[in-house]
């Protein structure tokens, strides 16, 4: 076991503000949708807009951060260990098998996470932001007049935005649960809060120079585990 500083301060700040904002957007958004009444309709609409702007700011900074630090590489999808990771969640986890992939500073996401988060980043979030902006600027004031985007109906925009909200909520449910599947139940949560995480293999650090190498090591590691089982 070795303690590694895995989540940088900005990364944690970004994660938790985003988490809070998405939760808050869902809370206000579903009130605007008419699902329930909590803040009052007008407040819900106003809060939803402010939270949306805040989220956009956070996202802009996050994109900047991902590219300047090269962290975007973490999300390059890979099929290696994808099946192993799935098998782990379906079977291995109950047998107390070790995680098929090792977490490290240069590869903190397992193949399943890579795929999920990539889809979140390039699909769900952009769709939500763009449909949200359409929703907001479908009508706007300019001076003493009201302008409007030339779209026939709000319906398409609204329905896409609603569908995206449901998808995000489902993601949150699974995401929150999967936090508990770390080394211990609270490992992952602690890591995202403090930035430090106990990484399993002590030797891992030396081999961590390149991602490919890291993956190769993981493969070997995995085979070893598999052989031991049989």
């Amino acid at each position: 076991m070795k303690t590694v500083y895995i989540y940088k301060s900005f990364e944690r700040f970004w994660h938790w503000t985003q988490a809070f904002l998405i939760f808050f957007l869902a809370l206000t958004g579903f009130e605007v949708h008419g699902s329930y009444s909590f803040f009052g309709y007008e407040n819900a609409v106003i809060f939803h807009s402010y939270a949306a702007y805040a989220l956009i700011v956070v996202i802009v900074f996050a994109i900047f951060w991902h590219f300047t630090t090269g962290e975007w590489r973490q999300y390059i999808p890979t099929t290696k260990f994808l099946k192993a990771q799935l098998d782990f969640y379906i079977l291995g986890i109950f047998r107390n098998s070790p995680h098929p992939t090792k977490k490290s500073v240069l590869s903190k996401l397992n193949p399943l996470q890579r795929l999920t988060y990539l889809e979140l980043k390039i699909m769900v979030i952009p769709v939500m932001v763009i449909s949200g902006l359409f929703y907001m600027f479908y009508r706007y004031t300019s001076g003493d007049n009201i302008g409007g985007l030339d779209i026939e109906s709000l319906e398409t925009v609204a329905l896409i935005h609603t569908a995206g909200a449901y998808a995000l909520m489902a993601f949150v449910v699974v995401h929150v649960y999967l936090i508990t599947t770390g080394h211990s139940i609270l490992t992952n949560l602690k890591a995202m809060m403090t930035g430090y995480e106990d990484v399993e293999d002590e030797n891992e650090e030396n081999n961590n120079e390149e991602e490919n190498k890291d993956n190769n090591d993981n493969i070997k590691e995995n085979e070893k585990v598999e052989n031991e089982k049989h």
């Binding site: 008419g34 007008e42 319906e155 909200a165």
Partner: protein, 520 residues
């Protein structure tokens, strides 16, 4: 990382600084403050007509008063004679009918049906004297009734069934010396009583507006802005803006809230954006007929019942007429939530002589045009008035019955109570055929609600419309309304996905707990 934070902070500081430097710091009072200041100064009377030599005499005929007015105001009668108040019609354009001169002359309404053949009685509300069927009075300028609009003595009354001539008891000298700008009283004496009684017709114009409080009309509140009709219905050369779509069909000469308040009067941007599709009245007149009840349904088919051979009236416990032998049965209502329709400022009209194509459903006498996709349309509140009125099932024409006559035996329904002779006489007057058979048909009229604006704290709130159940806009379904509308498919499948995720992780978690115990 350090560099990044420094660059970031510099950018933020620059942005905040530039906002501060370039923002407009000029103080501008709000539109509301400007308007309050403007209307708190009531203009002083500049002329005292009681001092004029020309008016120091007794007038025998009302026409003599008019002739005297014209000696000074020597072109004003020409203006009046070009107005719709005088002509009871004006050029309009109706889709499919082309240019039509619309007005009381050729329009049928849901109340006393039509003026023609009944002029003697109806002309009580015409701004002229001696109005006759053949139109002679329309060319004689001394028949212009200056006094009905300009009397400030509060003693001028038009006589009943006298073709618009004043009651013989009126002191014309006193009235003539009192003249001034029209007040609520001058307009109200006709417009509050349309349809044959107080508030019968409009629903948003009634006699509480002679001395309105804040609860009746925020603009006319006597203790507040105390506006009069012509403050909004701006008038130049006797041409009065603002018209009612029961007798108009094109979007001209209108009087709009925006004329004073602009189309972005709210502090909230989101509320301002609403003005693109929602008329001010929709939110700011949440209920109509606040002061007194208004007529909602008029059933002519029951008219003509006699008690001991004589016509009678029935009044309910609230003092509303529920039956009159001369007019039929009525339904009244008070404090009513309006209906809502899309309206682009144009309307259609049933004009005398139009054939009814479909007699199975209600005939809409003045369909208001508009839809969500029409860029000129806004949602407006309306009073929908229903009636059951007489029509000819053979010719498929609505019948204009002869209602009023001085004597029994002239064929007038109000004297003889015979639909057949009333129909024959009425239709003959306007030169339309009558088959000899009559029946009754449902008719509807749409009355836009524009008056008796409520104090702002009483205006509609978001959830009056933006809610699943009981939305006030439940009847307007050609657009997506957030909070009211949703896709059943997306909502139920979205909900299902979330539930399945929950069940999935719960099951997974339980299995983990089970196996970890087992392994121990």
């Amino acid at each position: 990382m350090r560099k990044f934070i420094i660059v970031l902070s510099v950018i933020i500081v620059l942005v905040i600084a530039s906002f501060n430097i370039f923002s407009d710091k000029t103080f501008r009072p709000s539109q509301e403050v400007i308007l309050k200041a403007k209307y708190s100064e009531k203009p002083a009377k500049v002329v005292d007509h009681s001092k004029f030599d020309a008016l120091q005499k007794d007038f025998n005929r009302p026409q003599d008063v008019t002739a005297t007015c014209i000696t000074c105001h020597n072109k004003r009668h020409v203006e009046v004679m070009q107005s719709s108040h005088w002509n009871w019609e004006r050029p309009d354009y109706i889709e499919g009918k082309g240019i039509v001169y619309l007005g009381k002359k050729n329009i049928i309404n849901n109340y006393c049906i039509g003026t023609q053949s009944n002029t003697k009685s109806c002309a009580k509300c015409h701004i002229g004297f001696d109005m006759t069927e053949n139109g002679v009075s329309y060319t004689d300028s001394t028949n212009v009734d200056c006094l009905v609009c300009h009397d400030q003595s509060n003693s001028y009354v038009k006589g009943a069934n006298l073709s618009g001539t004043p009651d013989p008891g009126v002191d014309l000298r006193k009235v003539a010396q009192s003249v001034g700008k029209p007040t609520r009283d001058n307009c109200g004496v006709c417009h509050f009583y349309g349809g044959g009684g107080n508030n019968v017709k409009h629903g948003d114009l009634d006699n509480t507006m002679f001395h309105p409080g804040r609860e009746i009309d925020i603009h006319m509140d006597e203790a507040g802005p105390n506006l009069v009709c012509i403050d909004c219905h701006k008038t130049e050369n006797h041409q009065i803006t603002g018209k009612v779509y029961s007798i108009a069909s094109i979007s001209t000469e209108r009087s709009n809230c925006e004329d004073c308040h602009t189309s972005t009067p709210h502090e909230s941007e989101i509320l301002n954006e609403h003005t693109l599709k929602v008329a001010c009245q929709t939110c700011h007149i949440p209920i109509y007929s606040k002061g007194t009840p208004t007529n909602l349904d008029w059933d002519w088919s029951t008219a003509g019942r006699l008690r001991d051979g004589k016509p009678y009236e029935d009044i309910d416990s609230l003092g509303n007429h529920i039956y009159k032998s001369i007019k039929g049965s009525f339904t009244y209502g008070k404090n009513i939530e309006p209906d809502y329709v899309w309206f682009n400022g144009t309307a259609g009209h049933y004009v005398l002589g139009d054939k009814i194509e479909d007699t199975t459903k209600a005939v809409v006498l003045n369909p208001l045009y508009g839809s969500y996709s029409d860029k000129n349309s806004k949602i407006i509140p309306v009073k929908i008035h229903t009636a059951n009125q007489i029509f000819d099932p053979i010719t498929k024409l609505l019948i204009l019955p002869h209602l009023y006559a001085d004597n029994v035996g002239d064929g007038a329904f109000w004297k003889d109570f015979n639909w057949n002779s009333a129909s024959e006489k009425g239709m003959k007057t306007i030169g339309l055929p009558y088959s000899g058979k009559y029946s009754f048909i449902k008719t509807e009229m749409y009355w836009p609600i524009n008056h008796q604006v409520a104090p702002k704290e009483e205006s509609l709130t978001c959830t009056n419309c933006h809610q699943r159940e009981n939305s006030r806009l439940a009847g307007l379904n050609d657009f997506y309304l957030p909070g009211r509308d949703y896709s059943d498919f997306i909502d139920s499948s979205g909900f299902l996905v979330i539930i399945l995720s929950f069940v999935g992780v719960l099951f997974h978690g339980l299995l983990r707990i089970y196996f970890s115990y087992k392994q121990k």
